[in-house]
């Protein structure tokens, strides 16, 4: 991977960069928490951070409700999802040796979508319910986990198919695209045949959205994020070696196939769990790692964490834009990230030649 010409990697910029990033993050978070159809005064945010607001009544109670039950879980989930997708992207771009790789490529979005659609079609209207002791719940409660499992199954299939070629980048990409397009075609076919009654709900999910996500989703995703954070220090060094190319890496004593496989598993876990919560949000994993690389160079010890931070910021900012569309109808976060991502993608692709 060549470092770009406009690099800001020199260490004297680093404090400034960190400061700028912090300011950006604060601004994005504050705007997301305070702006919206219900405007929330900063005072309410400040107070409710420190004290219980249950005693409050009237407009403050509404503001606190909106803040804590709608915007806060949405914000946190956005941060986690963005961070995970970007880190998965950074890992994949190293392993697949291609700056255009993304978790889409491993069939994760396709697999998650397929299970989500099946669940929507056959679990709504209480056709399927789970009984846990005397507590009856709709199978829809399982959506985050089911979609995650779908993504992981698809990634497993891609690994299985490309394992015969020793998990080479080329084979992985081609198998991944094949599996992804078959899965997407199946999703399309199933929706066309049986989706009439659920099309609106499914469309929203397939676009990748943070709409209506509550604390349950945050708690469901948190363990994966923690796992990712714990693995970061372990992954960084082997990934640095993998960047050098297969031969150099193995001459330096790295078991290339093992670490390649392991990295792919970690990337799949991060991406699949994120996609499971919010649906296929595109381009985050594609967009962020090259920016991080331009800022701090290709040393994964710095690039990987920075990717996480930038990805979190990107998703939160995109969600802010999507929510502030004119009218009451919001734009899903996945649509915004795709629209933002494409010009950048073109830039990377052109530069690569």
């Amino acid at each position: 991977m060549s470092s770009p010409g406009w690099s800001l990697q020199s260490s004297r910029y680093r404090p400034m960069m960190a400061l700028g990033l912090m300011l950006l993050a604060m601004a994005a978070i504050l705007i997301n928490l305070l702006a919206g159809p219900v405007s929330i005064p900063f005072a309410v945010l400040w107070q409710s951070l420190w004290s219980s607001v249950n005693a409050a009544a009237g407009p403050d109670a509404v503001a606190a409700e909106v803040l804590w039950q709608l915007r806060m879980p949405r914000l946190l989930l956005g941060l986690l999802v963005g961070g995970q997708l970007a880190m998965a992207g950074a890992i994949l771009q190293v392993v697949l040796r291609n700056p255009l790789a993304d978790s889409h490529i491993l069939g994760i979005s396709g697999g998650a979508s397929l299970l989500a659609v099946l669940l929507f079609l056959f679990a709504t209207d209480g056709v399927l319910t789970l009984a846990v002791w005397d507590w009856q719940v709709s199978v829809l409660y399982m959506m985050p986990w089911a979609a995650t499992a779908g993504g992981l199954l698809a990634a497993g299939l891609v690994f299985r198919l490309s394992a015969a070629g020793g998990l080479t980048p080329m084979r992985l990409v081609l198998c991944g695209i094949a599996v992804a397009s078959v899965l997407n075609a199946l999703v399309g076919g199933i929706l066309a045949g049986w989706g009439h009654a659920n099309a609106e709900t499914v469309l929203a999910w397939l676009a990748g959205t943070l709409y209506g996500r509550d604390w349950l989703y945050v708690w469901a995703l948190l363990p994966w994020s923690v796992l990712g954070l714990l693995l970061l220090p372990v992954m960084a060094k082997p990934l640095n070696l993998l960047q050098l190319g297969e031969e150099s890496a193995s001459s330096l004593g790295l078991s290339v196939t093992r670490w390649r496989g392991l990295s792919l598993v970690v990337a799949s876990l991060l991406a699949a769990s994120a996609v499971g919560m919010v649906g296929p949000v595109g381009f985050v994993g594609l967009l962020v790692p090259p920016i991080a690389q331009a800022l701090v160079g290709s040393d994964m010890r710095r690039q990987l964490p920075l990717s996480g931070v930038l990805g979190a910021l990107l998703v939160v900012a995109a969600d802010g834009v999507g929510r502030s569309m004119p009218g009451v109808n919001e734009l899903p976060v996945g649509v915004v990230t795709s629209l933002v991502g494409v010009p950048f993608f073109i830039y990377v692709l052109r530069r690569q030649s």
Partner: protein, 283 residues
């Protein structure tokens, strides 16, 4: 679905048109409602809803605006709100219904009225509708075969008997040529019918649901061969037919359908021009 509803409910939010319709009919107009086709609110319900807050489409209700109106009760369509069930339940008691069939409509009216403490009013609305269906059915001469088509694509989607307007068609001594769903359970509303089959079934009357764009299936070479087209009996119906479970909408559907099936027996009903059907294929 056991929901405890507070004593005097005043602020009710309606997610989906049937809910707003029931609330208006019961005399408790909604403080907030979802969109109706391209309108911000179901305006066919008149002045009683025009002051409500528009919450956006039923499948993506704006939850912040919903929180801000501070509802005491939420009446919603189940199919589109169920994935976000917890968000609704947190705000207020949440009543969700599937509204496909005639029985669904009666049940929704009964349960909403019970939740509002207006049980007798709800029973009266249902009783009157059942009686009217009965009365028009007895007066209807019969012998008319019809189909209900929706879609703007090359292939229309035809509704089964379990869909409320199709049920009313049968009760008016008409025949829904598409017949009943292969299995009773589930939410199968209908299927994509080939024009070949439509020609074989050859209904006398076609009820065509409105769509943003002109229906592409009307350009098929088969279309002019259909009896309903040849005799000029193709009607584009109002948007309320899609989800007509509300007491106001279902009466409009019943009366207008009776008129369109048997124009000599039943006069054109009084109804808002906004949702009145019109003939598509003039002779």
């Amino acid at each position: 679905m056991w929901v405890t509803v507070p004593q005097n409910v005043e602020r009710v939010a309606a997610i989906s048109t049937f809910a707003a319709d029931i609330l208006v009919a019961l005399g408790v107009p909604p403080v907030a409602a979802s969109t109706f086709a391209d309108q911000p609110l179901p305006l066919y319900l008149g002045d009683r809803v025009s002051g409500a807050t528009s919450l956006g489409p039923r499948a993506k209700t704006n939850l912040e605006l919903l929180t801000a109106v501070q509802p005491d009760l939420i009446v919603a369509i189940r199919r589109y709100t169920e994935p976000y069930e917890r968000q609704y339940e947190r705000l207020a008691p949440y009543l969700a219904f599937n509204v496909i069939s005639y029985r669904d409509s009666l049940r929704a009216v009964r349960q909403v009225s019970r939740a509002l403490g207006l049980e007798q009013e709800g029973e009266r609305l249902n009783r009157e509708f059942v009686a009217e269906v009965e009365r028009l059915g007895q007066a209807a001469p019969g012998g008319v075969r019809a189909a209900l088509l929706v879609s703007s694509s090359e292939t229309p989607f035809a509704y089964y008997d379990n869909f409320l307007p199709a049920y009313l068609l049968n009760r008016l001594n008409g025949v829904n040529v598409v017949g009943s769903a292969p299995r009773e359970a589930g939410q199968s509303l209908g299927y994509r019918i080939s024009l070949e089959e439509l020609l074989v079934l050859d209904p006398d009357v076609l009820f065509v649901f409105p769509s943003i764009q002109q229906q592409a299936y009307r350009n098929n070479p088969i279309w002019p061969y259909l009896k309903a087209v040849r005799t000029g009996r193709v009607y584009e119906v109002g948007q309320h037919w899609k989800e007509g479970a509300g007491p106001i909408a279902r009466r409009y559907i019943l009366k207008e359908m009776a008129h369109l099936l048997y124009p000599e027996t039943f006069p054109a009903p009084a109804m808002p021009e906004l949702i009145r059907s019109h003939s598509l294929e003039t002779l």
